[in-house]
Every structure is written in C-alpha cells, then in structure tokens.
C-alpha cells in the first residue's frame, strides 16, 4: 500500500492547528491511515487504496483538519469558466477513449511545489491509476502551448518529439524501445496500431499518454505560473475523480481553477466538475448497522467531520471521493467520525448451536490414538517440490504445479505426505532414536469433476525410524488403528519404488484402495542420507471417513 511522507510544518499550516506527538499519532490512526512514523520534521503515513484523495499533503491535511474539528464540512472549490477547448478525435476510441482536463492559474511554482505536484501525479499513477493503465496524468506549462488541444491517435511513426529526459527527437516506436518510460509502460500500448497523442494548436506534441510528455511543451519549471492538466484513460467517471483529486490539491496550494470545454464529436462536457454528488442519508439503516441512535443533526455533524456536506436528508459527497458506493460507505465514515474507540462492546444473546466439523473430529481421534502409541505429530507445508515428492522417493507421482511461485523449493502441491515425513526424519538424524512421527496433511490431484479441476484429500503418514524397526512393527500400528475404529481391511502385496520389494503392501477397505504400507527402500534412505531403517504407512483419511460414514 502507498505511503506518503509530508512536511510537518506544511501539514500544520494546512490543518490550522498543532497537536502534540501522542495526540497526533492517535488521531492519525483513528482517522483510518496507518501511521508509520512521526518526527519533528516529517510525518509518514500509509494511505489505504480507497482514499487516493489523501495521497497529497493538501489532501491528507484536509481530511485530518476536519476530522479533528478544525475545518469541517464540505470544502468549496470555485471553478471559473474558460473558453479553452479540448477536441477529442474519434480515432482515440480504440486506444484510450477518454480525457478530462482543467487549467490552474496563478500557482507560484518553486522547487518544493514542483516536487509536490510530481509526487501527487506519481502516487496517483501507481495507485488509483493502476500504474497508468486506468489513468495517466499530464501536467503542462500553459505558456508553452497553444489552445485548443487535440487528443487523437496516429501511426507511431508520425508521432515524433523529444521526450522528457532525452537529448533528441524520436518517433513513438523508438521511445518504446529506447526511453526508460517507454520500456516501463510500453506494454500498455501493446498490439495498438495507432498510439494516442495530445497536440496543441501549433500541432506540437504535448505528450504520448500513458508514456511520456514532450520536453518542449510538457515540462513545468520555476517560471511556470499556469498549468494545463489532463487525465486520460478508459472510464470518464474515474478520470473525473482523479482530476478532482489533483485539482482540489492545487486549489489549496493557491491556484485558481478554470474549466475547459471538451468536444467529443457532437457531445460537449465541461470539466472539472467539483460539485458534490448527493446521496440519500438513510439514518435508520446507519443506526441499525452501527448500533447507534443518532439523530439527523448528529449524523450531519459527523459527516461534516469527514468533509461531507449535508442538505435536507442528503449527504453531499466531496467531488474528490471515489469510494462512496452505498449507504454502508456513509456508515463507515460516520463511524470513523464518531470514533471507533467509542463503540461499546456488546455480545447479543443469540442462541446458535455450536458444531465442530465431523471429519476434523475424526482426524483428531486418529491423531490421539497415535499419540497414545508415543508418536510425535509433525506439522508440514502443502507446498513442496518435484525432487522431494518423486526423485528422492524413487517414484513418480502426478503433481499439481504452481504457475508463479517465487521459490523453486516450493512450486508444487504435494501428492502424498510420506516425503514430508522422510524429509523430517532426514533433518533429525542427529537426534536420539527411535523416532516415531506422523503428519496429517492435504494432498492434491487433478480431477475433472471438481470446480477447480483439483481434488483435495487429507492423508496421514506414519513412520518409525529405528535401528530395529521393520514391517511387523509398523503393521502393528496400522492394525491397532483399524481395530480401534472397528474397520476391517484387506491387504495385498504390491510394488512401489519407495518401498522394499516384497515388503510393501496396499491396504483396501470395501475394495477401495486407501493406504500403502511397507519398509522404505534403502535407495530412498540413501537419497535422504538416512542411516537407520524406516517403516511407514500412509492412509487416505478422507476416503476412509467416507466409507465409515456409509
């Protein structure tokens, strides 16, 4: 999740109040941001993905100030109409269909402010913009461009300009190939015949979204006073929200906001639209959900602490908020304003019948029997590798592979548990023998009838490692288990690479194979550097339990 680090003095100026450290820490946590660090100069917080509006010092201070009751209620953003135009050509439809824009004038840019703007842009790119896939943001100095601006798509060879951080002009294909931004974001234009481009009235390239701005027209510096801002992407509403988040911050930075006319063929829009959206406030619903008894006026005050307005039973949602989908979202903000710490814990007297899963009970009973025979239980991972499951066990079993595990030691789901157990015995060679252990675990195999195409069973593997252990000893354990649960089994000699020939058997109940038993093949012992004999069995408990239930 994204973190932002903000200057504490700037923060305090925007908030309008200084708080002692302890209070500050507490309030930041209770506002719904994870506090990372507070010191004399800086505050670092983690902003949850539902609140991109807090990813700037202005946005965060705004939310904080109203939360502590300093500047509550809906912030007003005055938008002055301008005649400047953005003409959206229909050719962008298949590449990047929408853009929304605004002009902010009178910003006295200095190093600090330029940094802030770039920071907001970058944080929004990564989070709300999903690495520029959903939204790409461009900021341009007005003095270097001539309105109206055109948004179109063109053959990449015809898009030629000097991108930021480059020394010479390139065409779009060269940019994707050679420029660092092209390498990072080029995949977003993969498969497109034409690339999107903004051009001004002089036909100068402003930028090629979502990749890079032009050096000539798209670089803000200390002389810049007025900026043109656009957001491009695939969803008009999302772009408007994103634009509003930026505009609100720039407004609070001291800018004057001017709207622009957007021409989409015959359709006309004006952005930014900083008017709050209205949502009916269902106070009954909210009280029931939160267990409170708020009056309309209480709710109004609480909403105002979260930066909302309130008018005649309606909540006025700030235009920079994108996360209010439902009454329950209002309920959460009211709960935050009320203070999570002020909710009294209550357990309702609701009669429900407890029930432990029957199969879980069965597994525990089997485990208890083994504990009674002095076996130790091991707890193992479901993820393992092919070498452990097959090669070192001198056998071949079909495995389910993961597609993206970052560790090659753990890139398959196990098909049987005994390899885990042998591995444990191998890791414990330096400890006293006899060693008697068991492990219960999930195993996986492909099966078409399942939803996921994978069947999961629980199995138990039981092993004895000792100087003098043998088939008889482990068979006695198996016998004891089956006698204890009153199940009769059949046993038949079998061949299995992991076991010694003539000392391996298959166990079945009502003709269904459910277990292997035998002495481990010395080849396998050698693979695991084990120097004592091991006798083991593995039972499919899922199948066994199914049979018992019948």
């Amino acid at each position: 999740m994204p973190t932002i680090t903000i200057n504490r003095k700037v923060f305090e100026k925007y908030v309008g109040k200084k708080l002692p450290d302890e209070k500050l820490k507490d309030r930041i946590s209770m506002l719904g941001t994870d506090l990372e660090d507070v010191n004399e100069d800086e505050i670092t917080v983690e902003v949850f993905p539902n609140r991109p509006d807090m990813l700037s010092v202005q946005g965060f201070s705004r939310a904080f100030s109203s939360f502590i009751g300093e500047k509550t209620g809906l912030s007003q953003y005055k938008v002055i109409p301008s005649k400047e135009k953005m003409i959206v050509d229909s050719s962008v439809k298949d590449v990047r269909p929408y853009t929304v824009c605004a002009i902010v004038r009178g910003l006295k840019f200095d190093d600090e402010k330029i940094k802030e703007v770039i920071e907001i842009q970058e944080k929004l790119h990564v989070t709300y913009g999903r690495n520029r896939k959903k939204v790409a943001i461009g900021v341009y100095p007005c003095e270097k461009i001539k309105f109206p601006i055109k948004f179109m798509s063109q053959n990449p060879k015809d898009i030629v300009f000097r991108p930021l951080e480059a020394s010479k002009e390139m065409n779009a294909l060269e940019i994707l190939e050679k420029h660092s931004a092209g390498k990072d974001y080029g995949h977003l234009l993969e498969g497109k015949k034409n690339f999107p481009v903004f051009r001004d009235a002089n036909n100068e390239v402003l930028s090629m979204p979502p990749i890079i701005n032009s050096h000539k027209t798209g670089k803000v510096n200390e002389e810049t006073k007025d900026v043109f801002i656009e957001c491009s992407g695939f969803d008009f509403k999302v772009l408007e929200n994103c634009l509003n988040i930026i505009i609100a911050a720039l407004y609070e930075m001291g800018g004057k906001v001017y709207s622009m006319e957007l021409e989409y063929g015959t359709k006309r829009y004006t952005t930014p639209n900083m008017n709050p959206e209205e949502m009916e406030l269902d106070i009954g619903y909210i009280n029931k959900l939160l267990g409170l008894d708020l009056k309309e006026n209480d709710a109004k005050k609480l909403l105002e602490k979260m930066g909302y307005g309130h008018n005649k039973g309606k909540a006025l949602i700030p235009s920079y908020r994108a996360d209010i989908l439902h009454q329950s979202d209002l309920a959460e903000d009211i709960a935050i304003a009320y203070g999570y710490e002020h909710f009294q814990e209550e357990i309702p007297k609701v009669a429900t019948i407890a029930e432990e899963d029957k199969f879980e009970i069965f597994k525990n009973k089997i485990a208890d029997l083994l504990v009674g025979l002095k076996f130790l239980e091991a707890s193992t991972y479901n993820l393992t590798n092919e070498t452990t499951q097959c090669k070192k066990m001198n056998t071949k079993v079909p495995l389910v592979y993961l597609s993206n595990s970052i560790s090659s030691d753990y890139d398959v789901l196990r098909a049987w548990v005994t390899p885990n157990v042998i591995e444990i015995l191998s890791n414990n060679r330096h400890h006293e023998y006899p060693q008697k252990i068991f492990a219960i675990g999930r195993v996986f195999k492909k099966e078409k009838n399942e939803d996921t195409g994978i069947k999961e069973d629980e199995r138990i593997s039981v092993a004895i490692a000792a100087e003098k252990t043998n088939y008889t000893e482990i068979r006695q354990v198996l016998d004891y288990l089956f006698r204890s649960i009153d199940v009769k089994y059949d046993i038949k000699e079998t061949e299995h690479g992991s076991f010694i020939e003539g000392r391996a058997a298959r166990v079945s109940v009502t003709k269904k194979n459910i277990a292997y038993i035998g002495e481990i093949n010395p080849l396998v012992l050698e693979n695991w550097e084990l120097e004592v004999p091991i006798a083991a069995f593995e039972i499919n408990l899922t199948e066994l339990y199914k049979i018992i239930k019948k």
Binding site: H326, I336, D357, L370, L376, L402, S405, T452
Partner: protein, 509 residues
C-alpha cells in the same frame, strides 16, 4: 537423618560398595572387590555422595602405556644396545646397519644419543665410522635405564614416577611410538565421618527388602522385613512421550473458544477459483490485492468453472451494484479472470461459500474456521508462505458494529489478551472495516492481529438473496503461537525438530 534411617534407605549397590570403601578409595579396586560393574559402582558412589556418606574426587591423570615400538623394545631390547654391541673397533655405519638390523632412522637416533652419553666416538673419513668408548663399554655391561623403564608394569601414572625415572620418561616420550600417554579420569571415594560410622555397621541389608515384587507379596516376605526407603528427592532421567504438534494444540484451543461461543466450523479446499476467493467478496478485478505477485496461481488446470447460480449476480454487483442500492465498481467484469485457480489467500473464501449455502430460515447463524492460507513470499525469519488464519462470521439480522467489537473482545480475552481495540481500515469486502489490535502486556504496545468489519451488501445480497449484516473477521495466529513458544524465527514453527517437539511445553492457555 538418623543412622538407622540412612541404613534403611541404602540401595543394594550401595550396600555392596560401602564395606569396600573401608579398605580402599580407588575406583578400580572398589569395582574389583565389590564384584560390581563399573557403571553400578558409579551409580552407587553418586548416591552415597548424595547422602553425604562419601566425597567423590575426580581428577585427570596422564597415564603412560607402551606403544608399538615400546612393546617391541621391551621384548627385544633397545636399539642403542644393539648398536653398541655391533661396534667392533672402528666400524662403518653401513656395517653397523647390516650387523644390528636397525633401520636408518634408528641408526641416526642412536648416533645422536650415544654421542651425547659419550658412549661412542664418531670419525668422519670416507663415510662415517664409529668406535666405542670406555663409557660405552660400561653401558653394554650394565642394563640400559631405558630398558629398565620399559620393563615396568604399565600403565603408570605420570604423577607417580620416581625422580630418576622422569628423565628417562622425557627422553622416551620424544622418541617415535615408544610410549603412549592417555588422559585418564581417576576417581577416588573417601568416606565422610558419617560414612565411616555407617560403614562400620552391618549394612548387608539382609532384613531389608529392596523391591516389592509379586513374589515377595505372595510369600508375604514384606511383613517381616523393612522396605528400603528411597531418596525421593533425587532427579530421574528424562523420558518423552507422544504429543500433538504445538500448532495443532493451539488450533484445537482456538477452535474450542469459538465452539464455546456457539459457532459452527467451516472447512474447505485450499485451491479455489478467483471467483470465490475474490469476486464473490466484491474485490474488483483490478484491485491491488489481486496482484499476481502476492497470490499463488495454479499452472494446470489454470482455470476452474463458475457456479451458474451466482456468476451473473456477482457480475452485476461488480458492474452496477445489482439490486443492492450500490453503484458497483463501474467496470466490465471478466468471467475469465474469475475462473483463475489460486491457492486461497484468506479463509474468507469459506465465509463466502457458507453464506451462499444458507437460507433465510437458517438465520441467525455463526461460523468459524481455523485454516491455512497462502501468500507468495520467500520463506524467511519474518515471512511464511503458508500460515493459519482464524475466521469468523455472524450472520444475524440484528447484528451491529458494537457486536463485532464484543465478539472480538470475548475471543481475545479467552486468548489471554485483556484489551482489544479496533481502528479504521480498508478491505474491499467490509464496510465499516476495522483493524484489530490487542494490547500486549509485556511489550506495552498495541499489536495488530487481524482485520474485521461488516460484509458489504454487494457481497451478502447476491449470495444470500437478502441483505443481512454479516460481522466478519480474519485473524493471524502464528504470531501469538510464536510468542507463546518463544520462537523468533517464523520458519521454526514448521521446522519439526524432533528434540524441540519432544521437549516443548503444552499449549496451556
């Protein structure tokens, strides 16, 4: 303790050793005279010392015994003697070698040594010639001190050597494979004043019964004898039994808490479709939590199938909020994305499936699960890729946010945490959402143990058919388990070290 009482408590081994101690303090001799095995004597001495009847002294001794050459020279004489005997007037070294049968190495040693003793003269002409001196002749007549030393009865303790032997010993020690020096533990047992008193008494123990046996019970022999008293305060050797793994023990305990509170257990598969793990929980398909890097996906079969009953409803909820009064996420939902198989990222997937299986008449209902969840991480001291999540849901038309806090507080009180707080958080499937912290009594700070909230209507209504508040939480348990067992490296939780498993304490919360 009175003498009689002490005598009554003597073990048969002690009884055999005690009388011998009047004669000797030497361990070897005690063993010989008592007719016991050395381990038995050791045990008896240990017990007697515990009873303060003897003082056992152990010291390390250098003990000399004969090595290969030493044994050989003892029998056949030392090479220097052979050397001297072989000299006739001026004899060349070559002739000496032939006559004496000594090796070149031995010859060289003899040359140096005999010269030092003035037993020979060395003449360098064409080659080396040797002649014997009068001192040398004397030597041949007498016995060599080295030979006398080698004929002693070994082993001998270095500390017991006579002064005149010391010099010879030092010389021989330098020579090849003549002597072998071993460090030997010497044990001496001396009677204390109390011990002397008891040793002088009759301690044969004829009137004492050592073990109660079925034979002595049948014969009623015990009636006429006294049963030996034990030292009941003494330490005994460790044993170990069978045991559940400590994670299983903790899991059982946690399950029991929820059962006590009237919750039903949920279980289910580890491999799930994204549909159940994420889409049904209203996690938008471009949410950062769905990032490939955190989630394990399955290579083959990479996709599963969608449940007909719910697929459309979930699609609508995502795209436009369906009939929930919500706007939805306002994007185009992809069924291909939803079909992707993964390893469950949270047990909340079980909650979704459970809600989907309920009918209105089943409410109110409460469910829990304690189960494995997966995250694509590299195994390290801090991170596991498989860990246990404790999940709970309360589906109750009258449930509210205060109840959520109530259930959590009750659970953590039973886990031994007296204070619980919740603070605002964000999860795509809960609203309100809350992080759960417990007050750590020794660290004196809040520790984050999980997430919670009330499920969004966009989740509940498509699955259940009606809108009902569902309180929900997912808590991490490894940290609490690690702390209880003083484990600092997360990997040690599933290390399965047999010694550790044998010795770990039970989960005693």
């Amino acid at each position: 303790m009175s003498l009689d009482k002490i005598i009554a408590s003597l073990h048969p081994l002690e009884r055999k050793v005690l009388p011998v101690l009047k004669e000797t303090d030497d361990f070897e001799i005690i063993a010989e005279k008592s007719g016991l095995q050395k381990v038995e004597v050791m045990r008896a001495l240990q017990w007697l010392q515990n009873k303060k009847l003897i003082v056992v002294n152990q010291k390390l001794n250098e003990q000399i015994s004969l090595d290969e050459n030493g044994l050989n020279y003892k029998e056949k004489g030392v090479p220097e003697k052979k050397f001297l005997e072989a000299i006739k007037r001026k004899t060349s070294l070559e002739d000496l070698r032939k006559k004496s049968g000594l090796s070149n190495e031995e010859l060289n040693i003899c040359l140096g040594m005999l010269k030092r003793k003035n037993a020979i003269d060395i003449h360098k002409e064409k080659g080396i010639f040797v002649s014997i001196t009068s001192a040398g002749k004397e030597l041949v007549k007498k016995s060599f001190p080295e030979e006398i030393f080698l004929k002693k009865s070994f082993p001998i303790n270095v500390s017991e050597l006579q002064i005149e032997d010391k010099e010879v010993f030092e010389d021989l020690k330098k020579r090849k494979k003549i002597l072998r020096i071993n460090i030997v533990k010497i044990i001496k047992a001396d009677l204390t004043e109390q011990g002397k008193k008891i040793a002088s008494k009759r301690v044969s123990g004829k009137d004492i019964l050592d073990q109660l046996t079925s034979k002595s019970l049948k014969s009623r022999e015990w009636k006429n004898k006294k049963l030996r008293s034990y030292d009941v305060e003494i330490n005994v050797p460790n044993i170990s039994g069978g045991k559940r793994h400590f994670v299983s023990q903790a899991t059982q305990y946690i399950k029991k808490i929820w059962l006590d509170m009237g919750f039903k257990e949920m279980t289910g598969n580890y491999v799930q479709t994204s549909f159940w793990d994420l889409d049904a929980l209203f996690v938008p398909q471009d949410h950062p939590a769905r990032d490939e890097q955190d989630t394990f996906f399955i290579k083959d079969p990479s996709h599963g199938s969608l449940p007909k009953k719910f697929a459309e409803k979930i699609k609508d909820a995502h795209e436009n909020g369906a009939n929930t009064g919500s706007k939805g996420w306002q994007y185009k939902w992809s069924s291909e994305e939803a079909k992707k198989n993964l390893l469950r990222t949270h047990t909340t997937v079980l909650s979704a499936k459970t809600i989907a299986s309920l009918k209105k008449e089943d409410l109110p209902a409460k469910f829990f699960s304690v189960g494995k969840v997966f995250r694509n991480e590299t195994l390290s001291w801090k991170h596991l890729f498989e860990f246990i999540q404790v999940e709970g849901i309360v589906i109750d038309p009258d449930a509210n946010f205060k109840n959520l806090k109530g259930y959590l507080k009750e659970f953590f009180a039973k886990m031994g945490f007296s204070d619980v707080r919740i603070r605002p958080a964000h999860f795509p499937y809960t609203e309100p959402s809350a992080e759960v912290d417990v007050w750590h009594p020794t660290k004196k700070q809040w520790v984050e143990l999980g997430g919670s909230g009330i499920f969004r209507p966009e989740l509940v209504k498509p699955l259940l058919g009606i809108e009902v508040p569902v309180l929900a939480w997912g808590l991490g348990m490894e940290r609490t388990i690690m702390e209880y067992y003083n484990i600092t490296d997360a990997r040690d939780v599933y290390k399965n070290d047999i010694k550790q498993l044998r010795e770990t304490k039970l989960w005693m919360k």
